[in-house]
Symmetry: D2
Subunit: 367 residues, 4 copies
């Protein structure tokens, strides 16, 4: 109820403040016997680490995952079987520098969660945003990769930076070629845009913004192949509704759209409908792989809008906890854009949603 748990069958509860002892989670509902590659999980976590590109926070964390429960005892480095019991894990906050935030103890950073969390709870952990910090998402990435591993092997997804600071790749790229080729192209540039030329332009624009102490928003595009028809639950838990919930819960996300999305709203029925060409196959995919809230067997296609990071290195007008005006220049170690690091987080939430619906669909499957 307090909002720190995700999922129905596959349930992730996360915990931890940005500059407290640790962040972590408990993932419950992984069926007994599922084989897990823990090194692969660590790799997913490493993909969201800071310090991977010049536009990311210089905070250095080893982000080494410590596994506490739910796994069959096994030789380190090997795959282990899930016991069917809760898989708990934590990541220590080894490079926490709470003193960076002493100046912020009593002041509200604009467009941050500082004021609202204080208004909600009557107190807050001012050290780096406390639990409102995106540091919390490391636990999502751990769990998301476990979710990925328990899905059928047919399910293959990719997320990438499609737009950044007003510069964008061709939208058609998302449904061009295979998921695996998009994965390779995406990871070949630190900004995680699979079109190298566009990535270079983004990089140049980002360098200018960083120079000015500014930050950039953008859009992450996602495609998942191999989801069979039938996932999702009517009527409130439609597949895209739950995906939307999951994606909007990621820090800085301000919008989501599925298939044709907002541009589809400008269209007319005769131009928008996806004609059937066979059992579940369609001539076009404006539905984004989901009809009536349930997957139809085509590629899932959706986009996620991120606002620019609120922590800019420029003076801003604000107030303190006493309501007094203050001028504030945020220090600390911050990203110029969140998007490349958000890619594995978007993937994680996607896999958590899909794995949950996959397990739920087992109930309907044989009746």
């Amino acid at each position: 109820m307090a909002g720190n748990t995700w999922g129905q069958i596959l349930r992730l509860t996360t915990f931890g403040e940005s500059h407290g002892p640790a962040v972590g989670g408990v993932l419950d509902g992984v069926p007994g016997g599922v084989l897990l590659d823990l090194a692969a999980v660590q790799s997913a976590v490493n993909r969201r680490k800071t310090g991977q590109n010049p536009y990311a926070s210089s905070r250095q964390e080893s982000d080494s995952v410590e596994w506490l429960s739910g796994l069959e005892p096994g030789a380190p480095g090997q795959s282990v079987r899930a016991l069917g019991t809760p898989i708990a894990f934590l990541v220590r906050n080894t490079n926490a520098r709470p003193s960076d935030y002493d100046a912020l103890q009593d002041v509200f950073r604009p467009s941050h969660a500082d004021f609202t969390w204080w208004a909600k709870f009557g107190l807050r952990d001012a050290r780096g945003g406390g639990r409102a910090s995106a540091r919390e998402t490391v636990a999502r990435v751990v769990a998301g990769d476990v979710a990925r591993q328990l899905l059928p092997q047919s399910v293959q997804g990719v997320a990438y930076v499609e737009r950044l600071a007003g510069i964008g790749a061709d939208p058609a790229l998302l449904e061009t070629g295979s998921v695996s080729s998009l994965q390779i192209q995406t990871e070949s540039h630190p900004l995680r845009c699979p079109d190298a030329a566009v990535a270079a332009q983004m990089e140049q624009r980002l360098a200018e913004l960083k120079e000015q102490g500014d930050t950039a928003g953008g859009v992450i595009a996602v495609r998942v192949d191999g989801v069979p028809a039938g996932w999702g639950e009517p009527v409130f838990d439609k597949l895209h509704a739950v995906l939307g919930h999951a994606l909007l819960s990621i820090n800085a996300v301000k919008g989501v759209e599925f298939g044709s999305g907002f541009s589809g709203a400008e269209s007319i029925g005769s131009a928008h409908n996806d004609s059937f060409t066979g059992m579940g196959t369609t001539a076009t995919n404006r539905s984004g792989g989901i009809q009536g809230g349930i997957s139809n067997g085509n590629s899932l296609v959706f986009r996620v809008a991120f606002k620019p990071i609120a922590s800019i290195a420029q003076p801003q007008q604000t107030v303190d906890v006493y309501g007094q005006p203050q001028e504030l220049t945020v220090g600390g170690r911050h990203d110029a854009t969140v998007l490349p690091r958000a890619v594995p987080i978007v993937e994680a939430m996607t896999y958590l949603v899909l794995a949950d619906f996959y397990l739920l669909q087992r109930i309907n499957r044989t009746a």
Copy 2:
């Protein structure tokens, strides 16, 4: 789990197929003693009825709400107190014409839920989409108006058709003037666009589309004033994430955005941040009234994208349940656009979400 229940404290479970005996719901969690105006609920339901404008389905339903439980016995027409027990209600499907759908028994309508629900459950109710029909939303409107009535009186919302068939009102209109004046303007035109001149253009375009047997998509804009700071729950149940889930669960919705949304993704931090001018008040509202997932006391502002209705009166290519190609021309009684009727549904889901977080916040309020 099966997706027919919404909410945590205030829980709505809906039931019913489009052409079955009835649709209805059970609303649990209304605190004992809340005074309810049942005539106002019926008015809300009437606003989503068919036949209100020439572009809506000609199906005529009285849509009279029958109350089954949870209310103190009282004189009809007067306000009654909630008992604190589940409020069950139903609306009979008096004008069901399932024979309209005989021809569709074995064929999948493009961009409808026909194929996916059949793939999921192994059978389906082909009469008018069965439970996948938007007829289900009548139960949401009943419950949504009860939710509205239990909210603090400060909370006042309006939804309207901002864009239709490629024609749009000025986005700035949403935050111009009072909510109540927007409500009056909105209801003064059957298309529920508060800008009369734009509404007239929309009407003309819609007449053309209807003539062609075609349909239009569009965008509904929403504003809610009077929500105090502190509603919403970290980290997965952020206020906008749960609103997004609720809105995406409405038939034909393909996208949602909050505050600056997708256009904010094109922006930079220095241009996007909302400076504080006082305790919780900001110079701008690009955040859409929500920061860090929790309301900040400003107007909630968001938009919902609807695809064009899939039922067009033109021949379409499809397949039947045996995988054989079929040419299909959908008959029955359908809307040329769903948007005007969707306005009260969008409002209903909004109030259901807000009332739930209002009740949840009681738990934190005094600690």
Copy 3:
């Protein structure tokens, strides 16, 4: 959250006040395609009706189940398939006589829910206990029989009155012979005690109590055969813990015990352990078919203690809503004992729990 919903995968939400328009429920989570015999459901409902024996309330209700949704259209009287959507149903309160309760409007009946519900909600429906009445359980019986029908056919249960008014059958009877023979013996006497001689003694004692305007408590014993090993969930949702929750939620229940129960607490380990004789088979069944919270393949065995009905036809001391002392003699139409009518309710809650764990176990089964 408000307590009117039962179950996780198979979820029942009930509604209705004793003397309101109707009681009913929504059963969500029945997998699509399950074949349901609605006449059998009606038979289960008829078994809990009043007026079946001289010691039960003379209130006459037809208790005819009206099905509202979730079922494939079919010829009446035939079995129908579940659509996978919520199955809603209601039973009208045709013989409500709320005026019977006018005298109770402002007074609290001893050992009833009158005071506590008033204290909780700040108001109450005084007509026959409102929602606190056992009339609510008719919805459980409807749903419980649907649950029974979706279980594997191997699962066969029986509940019966083992003790009444201090008179009891031999406890060993419960694990003697087949479930089906116990079912037949149980239904052959209106008091639902399978030992005819004991039933006759119970009947005589009950006649004396009724003469005195008094009421009797007792114990219902339950056995379920054919539950495979593996049902139940660690650690909080152990099979017997959830069964206990379900059974204790039935009106007038004050205790539950599983297997050896309270007598096992007097025992020692060497006398109490169930030795294994084969894979899952044990020499004795003191565990009652459950070990570590999970079924072991043996018969489930448990007992439920019911207090005497609080509505006695004798003067009692009480207070009214103003705190003033009152002498009260309860009128209306009441049972001298609740136990024979409670037998189908106990069975219903048992089947709801088992069906839920059966569906949950599908998730683990193939991993």
Copy 4:
């Protein structure tokens, strides 16, 4: 869903295997600002530790609670405020001796969870019962003491060993004198029976059983004063139904009863009803403080039956994972009785239930 989470508003998720790296939990829903005495929590944990009496397991664990999140940074040893975010904690398994269990890898201990968990999940952690071990309950005790601290100070409870190995204290003792005096008497003897003479008899009997390699069952009695009228939720989540669920989820519990319980089932209405003597006060308390599932303001009174520990130091007949007969003598370090150590666990589950209903009732309180 997987059964490792307890509660609705106040939610505890536990994790950990007996001989894995750690056991622990995440407690979500503690309102922001609640002041917590962490030393008191450690004291509660120490009360359930092994090695406190000669009849308990000789396994030595420091059981030092490590706090990971959810607490305002503060000086060690002082009270700290809850942040309103999840409180995560762990206890390392420092004295794990998994090699003790090598001989049990392939064999099922009678009346243990070995067979059933293996049947459920298809594999199991054979080291000391894995997650089925009562070691999991250390997390419950941590969370339960936090729950106690957030309850109104009026709420004061005591649990004690009422019966052990067939020897019992006078049942009337439970409602005699104050809770605090019972607490002192209970803690003054290692067997946690407040009647010193009875405790001495129990001790003698237990010494004999230990000598024989045997174990004893018993009954724990509980009383909680100061619960106001109105806690609990109709109809499925009655206060005693949820307490029953919580208590039955504790290892080795086979029964629960409330107020008069099973003896009340032998009674008649005129002898059993609790007459009102004032607003919520009653002449007797056979209801155990709960009527219609909701607290009435009197003392909560209930009892919990524990079977004898299954690990006896005597040869037993069993089978292995291949279905082959085996003779087994369990080694390892085990208790002769679980009851004294179960006292703080029973208290913990009681406080978790009460704190949850206390928070839930905030929602109804002002409407």
